[in-house]
Symmetry: C2
């Protein structure tokens, strides 16, 4: 999968099919709220397995019952690439 | 356990026995680097279990192989209390 930076138009098109995800600064981010801390931990572990499988590692922040996921492509100069939109899609498939 | 804010002197005394932990702003924080992403995820889950058991929930941030833990006491006006130093001690006992 290409790690070239996407254009703003390409990112907007991808986000139109990714409810909950936003393009903030140079990354994509989304936050989920779960039924308690342990559920948020389990969700983080599941997203981490997706990260590892794709060798593309979104950052994960757990705050009690919330999980915030942020993803950018370091090899694309810290811009959003298809690796990020693809990972976002897989995470939403898992968590939504 | 008291959720009264600790004095700066009390915090410094506690930190003298907590290598790796710092008093930053209104919280305590420490970062660990592990042997890869899955190890960092496992460590986050373990810390989360400590959080849950104490009903005092440190924030957890996973960035590839790193886990950053931050803890403050909301009921102490977002200051550091004995709940934080006690949790920090338990986390260090687990991860160090």
């Amino acid at each position: 999968m290409s790690d070239q930076p996407l254009t703003e138009a390409e990112i907007e098109l991808a986000l139109s099919e990714l409810p909950g995800w936003s393009h903030v600064g140079n990354h994509l981010e989304a936050t989920w709220t779960f039924d308690g801390h342990l559920h948020a931990l389990a969700a983080a572990t599941a997203v981490g397995l997706l990260n590892e499988r794709r060798n593309h590692h979104a950052d994960l922040a757990i705050n009690y019952d919330k999980l915030r996921v942020t993803t950018t492509t370091h090899s694309a100069g810290h811009q959003v690439s298809a690796k990020d939109t693809d990972l976002a899609r897989a995470i939403s498939d898992l968590l939504d």
